[in-house]
Amino acid sequence: MYTTELKERNQAVQGLSLEREDPERLAAFEARVAADDFIEPKDWMPEAYRKTLIRQISQHAHSESVGMLPEGNWITRAPNLRRKAILLAKVQDEGGHGLYLYAAAETLGITREEMIEALHSGRAKYSTIFNYPTLTWADIGAIGWLVDGAAIMNQVPLQRTSYGPYARAMVRICKEESFHQRQGYEIMMTLANGTDAQKRMAQDALDRWWWPSLMMFGPPDENSPNTAQSVRWRIKRETNDELRQKFVDVTVPQADALGLVVPDPKLKWNEERGHYDFGDIDWDEFYAVVRGEGPVAKERMTARVKAWEDGKWVRDAAAAHAEKRGMRIAAE
């Protein structure tokens, strides 16, 4: 899964003036980035670049880890053995993505424990999309189709992002996401061609997931003041609105093919622009969800904190055992 670019993303970074950086090193860094060179962990980098990346990669890692919950909700109720195995494998992939991303962020000088602590205390954010509930099996289809579809749109450009470990993690993640998206669409296809009850489920899932999926691309460009800096540093390669438009253009014909109706009365092909026009996004809802007021934000965070706290004795035991073993080996 993926990260929502949040409005407050660079607040901490704004205090870090580039003017305090060594101008020669900064110029050399900027030139490398402009030449599409990868920046590696041991290379010099401006503090603001490091902070922005830590924030973005850790948000992305948290999104993967929290993102296991809405779909995990249906693993034990998957309708047949094939779907169960696919869903388990998919949610497991998400955990794997979380792991590589935490590892990529750790190369920037932060520990996984610090990042998890920031998530649990509410200081770190994760994608708003996971604060919506999965009510029926069709939601598993809709998440794969729409949410992973939006994630791919966002992540494909990140394979060429300037920070090497992040870019390499994204190459692997994108391969798996395209499988996730296909399995989601396949579920939707099966439901859309199924019984009336299944068709109803499929349409209802599209109705509920459409707008939150469009919100995944983050605030409109005019309210995304840090986009320019991030684009210059190749941390981001396309703007929120460009990616959102691309997503709508690709997804609407897919909905048509399913015989499902996109819940937007203003949606219309614009011949002149060569794009779909679409209705206004409810940004009040988006910012409320960012603030932690999403429908199941409490459930998601409670589940993460519970797993972490319930698991403390296990992590402690592993550490205690490793220490005992080390001492025994040393004593021999």
Partner: protein, 252 residues
């Protein structure tokens, strides 16, 4: 293939063990003590669901009444499930889950190591692939038993409690079933009592390394192989089978 009710019943035992334990482990997904454990438990669950699909599909062929793996998994009630009681036990905490895995996977590995030489080619093929998977399950569980048993006071106490919970169901794993005699005689089914010495040896070695004691002998709780399960299985099935029961005849 000619219908063979005994062979179908045997395949159901093998498949139901894997299915029910796979279902149990998948309950952990997203809630494990750390991401690495989450991935490992999902992996084990996936292996088990895969094994179940193969065994249950074969059971359908042996039965000869047109049932497929999904009809066995999603449209039977508890009385017709043939898994052992051990695998349906609740996850409890991570120590209880590991105690169950430890006792079961060590047994299942020995079982499949013999089943891969079965006179029935399909069962032998399934077991040949599965034995490698299960060797990893056993390895994972053995390592955790040692870490938890020889970790902290708390982890030790929890592990002892987990073993205590699970131990009463282990007798069933080695119970000879007269109904399977023709299959055992024909070299198709494994004679499970013969697995006991190796299993006890493995269990004792790991427990010694974990500085834990073998639980005391006691009266076994049995019944899974004839459909008399614990109270836990009905709830597991009601969750697992929900969609197939709520929307009969729908394709997914």
């Amino acid at each position: 293939m000619l219908p063979d009710a005994t062979l179908a019943d045997y395949a159901l035992r093998l498949g139901d063990d894997s299915l029910v334990l796979g279902q149990r482990l998948s309950e952990w997904c997203g809630h494990a003590p750390m991401l690495e454990i989450d991935l490992a438990l999902s992996n084990i669950a996936l292996d088990l669901i895969g094994q179940a699909s193969h065994f249950l599909k074969f059971a359908g062929r042996a039965e000869g009444r047109g049932r497929d793996a999904d009809s066995f998994a999603f449209r039977r009630d508890a009385l017709d499930f043939r898994n052992c009681l051990l695998v349906e036990q609740p996850n409890g905490d991570f120590a209880q889950t590991m105690a169950r895995q430890f006792l079961f996977s060590n047994w299942q590995e020995l079982l499949f190591a013999q089943l891969q030489h079965s006179a029935n080619d399909t069962l032998a093929d399934i077991a040949r692939k599965a034995v490698k998977e299960v060797a990893y399950h056993a390895h994972f569980a053995n390592e955790w038993m040692v870490r938890l048993g020889d970790g902290t006071e708390e982890s030790r106490a929890r592990t002892i409690a987990g073993l205590e919970w699970m131990w009463r169901f282990t007798g069933e794993l080695f119970e000879r079933d007269p109904a399977l005699k023709p299959l055992v005689d024909a070299g198709v089914a494994v004679d499970v009592p013969s697995l006991r010495p190796d299993w006890e040896d493995r269990i004792s070695r790991t427990l010694a390394e974990a500085r834990l004691e073998l639980p005391k002998p006691r009266r076994w709780v049995m019944g899974g192989r004839v459909g008399h399960h614990s109270e836990h299985l009905g709830h597991l099935l009601s969750e697992m089978q929900f969609l197939q029961r709520a929307y009969p005849g729908a394709m997914w």
